[in-house]
């Protein structure tokens, strides 16, 4: 592999990893704070992509559509938490698994009814189109660099929020001792609603960001869900920092495996996960 190709693949891996982080961050946040295993997380990624497509068709503005989609996702998150998730805090993880699988069915059906099964696409917004030449053949699209930077920005904001703000303090407190937070007179139910809704919104935002560079198809959520879980588990469930490191690791390993050991590339991220869990059974950054 030449140096220039190596660098290009490095960028590819990082960019894929950053997008994975964006999708996985909501999953790990919700699990870390609330102990809820939300299998419908991938569905929200799909919903985000479909929503932005739908509003883009109607408004013609990508930015506006992205904003509307994020707000809708937030509301859907609040609704899901208030009506269903809330009932299950005191039940075991497996009931949550069953509930969220039921939700996957519902979301898939709604997608099929509302938007049909044809593959859809959203054009890259004009202000972010264009590309930077890399080699004599290869270019790197500006939109993808923008998305990568956006992911870094969101990671930074999350880090700041959790470590420096009052909400973050409550989240950290709720993680370690739920009763204590309640005793301090803080409405933990409200906190949970907010966290869950943010988690859902993060998945949807990832779907929105991915929409212009991928295809919007039924089942896109389930496929990404598994990869997300790999990321979250490698990083250590509930650890945002872990998810960030693991996402980059998975992105890089997947990218380099694709070209260097193609026979094993389908299994590579699973081999990676099994390997890491055998050495560190709680993931890299378990709390």
């Amino acid at each position: 592999m030449t140096t220039s190709l190596f660098l290009v693949q490095l960028i590819n891996g990082l960019q894929y990893g950053l997008l994975l982080f964006l999708i996985a961050s909501g999953l790990t946040l919700v699990f870390g704070v609330m102990g809820i295993l939300n299998l419908a997380h991938g569905s929200m990624y799909m919903v985000g992509a479909y929503l932005v497509w739908y509003f883009f068709e109607h408004t013609g503005s990508f930015g506006l559509s992205a904003l509307i989609s994020a707000v809708i996702a937030l509301l859907v998150g609040v609704f899901m938490e208030r009506t269903l998730i809330r009932q299950l805090y005191r039940r075991n993880h497996l009931d949550q698994v069953l509930l969220t699988i039921g939700m996957i069915f519902v979301f898939n059906a709604l997608q099929s009814i509302l938007w049909g099964n044809d593959p859809l696409g959203v054009a890259v917004p004009p202000s972010l189109s264009g590309a930077i030449p890399m080699t004599d053949v290869l270019e790197y699209p500006i939109y993808r660099i923008f998305v990568a930077l956006l992911c870094v920005l969101i990671a930074g904001v999350m880090y700041f929020m959790i470590n420096k703000t009052r909400l973050g303090m409550l989240i950290r407190a709720g993680e370690s001792n739920r009763e204590m937070v309640e005793c301090l007179g803080i409405d933990i139910r409200k906190l949970y609603t907010i966290v869950f809704a943010i988690g859902v919104m993060l998945a949807a935002v990832a779907g929105v960001a991915a929409a212009p560079m991928s295809s919007i198809v039924p089942g896109m959520g389930e496929h990404i869900l598994i990869t997300c879980f790999v990321v979250v588990v490698i990083g250590g469930m509930g650890s945002i920092k872990g998810a960030f490191v693991a996402a980059l690791l998975v992105g890089l390993v997947d990218t380099f495996a694709s070209v260097m050991v193609p026979q094993l590339s389908s299994m590579m991220i699973y081999i990676l996960m099994a390997f890491i869990l055998l050495i560190k059974p709680q993931g890299l950054f378990s709390s």
Binding site: L5, A131, D254
Partner: protein, 391 residues
Amino acid sequence: MIKPNTLRTAVLAGLTSLALGQTAVANTQAPIKVGIMLPFSGVYGALGDATRNGMKMALQEKASELHGRKIEYIEIDTEARPERAPEISSSLLNNSKADFIVGPVHSGVAMGMMKVLRGKDTVMIVPNAGAGPVTGPLCAPNVFRTSFSSWQPSYPMGKVALDKGYKKVVTMSWNYGMGKESLDAFEESFTAGGGEILKKILVPFPKTEFQAYLSEIASIEPDAVFVFFAGGGAVKFIKDYDALGLSGKIPLLGSGFLTEGTLEAQGKAAEGVMTTLHYADSLDNEINNRFRASYKEQFGKASDIYAVQGYDTGLMIASAINRLGGDIEDQQALIKALEETRVNSPRGEFTFSAAHNPVQNIYLRTVENGENKVIEVAAPALADPARGCKL
């Protein structure tokens, strides 16, 4: 056993029809049952929808030629899950007693159906799945295909590539049956004419992260790239190919599914992509024009290859019923009628090979202004070699 009552009715009906100079007792018979095994959810959902729409449209149009026999549909969502295929086939065969079983889209599901339906008292018609064995080593008298074998659309592209002066090519597809068979077919004709395959890239299905592979292709700098992708994967592939700057620099060739039912989502990125397929939207013949107009009118969206294949399946069933005067009870006669069908398809008239696969034109097309424009017939009346079929 025929109960006395039924017998009397039949005799009466026979006499009446004789008296009226009609040909059959068809009017009093039960509806013809058509079992549909297609995916209506998930990744392949759009293909299932289009196929079903097309088929129903054809049978609707030909309703007057069915000798009074009504069609009853039994539709089951295969979810494109091969392990469910034998059970659903058995349900349609033994429970619903379907006369025709139409399906599927997915090759793995086709194999599961074959296991149960080969040689049984029903006719299986494959409206999409290209799996070679269906009309190859596993071919059977009661199994027909109205679409293509995966060999068919890709084989002619080898010659086209050589004619364009491409000598060194990279091929790429998902690592699954249809993809591998397509790449092999291209390679067969391409290397026979002196071309060289620099690299064959098989991407794990259903992965759509193509960037790493495309970066590698860019560093190899082949004369051209030949790929098989379909549906959502095709959209993503074309977008990535364009976004990474490869389009316009390294010509992209493909099996026609790359740009079928996906052009709208691919947008400008698909311009100039060259593919071979047994159909093109822009084929200018009367049947195709009428088909496209009335499909659009009925279903509110543009038709695609999957709709055409469904439509042809409907035409084929209708034509056989018509030729037999509505009486399809004799399986031998039905199979013979189906074999002799000349389908007046929107893709141009086609017939069936001994292995029950279409003998059809393969067109070379290129994407222009968001439409697949026909350049020429890449291979006229091409028949699948049907390797291993003893029919």
